[in-house]
Symmetry: C2
Subunit: 94 residues, 2 copies
DNA sequence: TGCTGATATCAGGACAGGCTGATGTGATCC
DNA sequence: GGATCACATCAGCCTGTCCTGATATCAGCA
């Protein structure tokens, strides 16, 4: 999941969605990207369960799922904790 | 920084380093990757401040910096919190 | 000093993934 | 029902980036 945030445009889409749900046209306007590119990334994020699509007539609103973000954050924290607790060990070289 | 965890091999290197400091030869052995590839990623992680290199004679030990990981985790948590607090708003479509 | 082993770097090829223009699909409005 | 708008998808190009084989660097040891 972490690796889904790697793309610059994708990161900006997520930042934008963190400020509130938005439809594709908002994202296209605000980010200055082409519509197919935005749709492409939204599809990826949707399939990864990071955002959900809520069709409203001709528009499609996208909403960020905080649980998905939190899960990634917790995984990182666990990693950091593990590193801290093993910092003292030192393996031999063959 | 998040985007530095996107590569599969890089992620495995970080996982490995979370279990304790290791030198390049350990990583090469454990991950089954070629040495230049491992060195390449270590350089990227080093320049990003995610790991530090500690030369010890002919060997170079690498250590994960938990603070860098924590910082990324906090940024994600902040993002999730922001999304939660703005979930109710809804922008108009032009 | 010459040799060996551990890393780092370089150059080149290969592949994944993003971007764009064109097109398809529904929903709304007249 | 036809036009239009918002959005999704498709096909093709293109760039970034990863991997590999070769080579350079540097420490330890005889």
């Amino acid at each position: 999941m972490i690796r889904l945030l790697d793309d610059p445009l994708r990161a900006r889409i997520i930042e934008q969605l963190a400020d509130g749900p938005a439809c594709t046209c908002h994202l296209v306007d605000d980010l200055g990207a082409k519509q197919p590119a935005v749709s492409h990334h939204l599809r990826i994020l949707r399939e990864a369960g990071i955002v959900v699509a809520e069709p409203r007539g001709r528009f499609t609103f996208y909403r960020l799922l905080p649980e998905a973000i939190d899960e990634a954050a917790e995984r990182l924290t666990a990693l950091a904790d593990r590193a801290r607790s093993t910092a003292g060990s030192r393996r031999e070289c063959s």
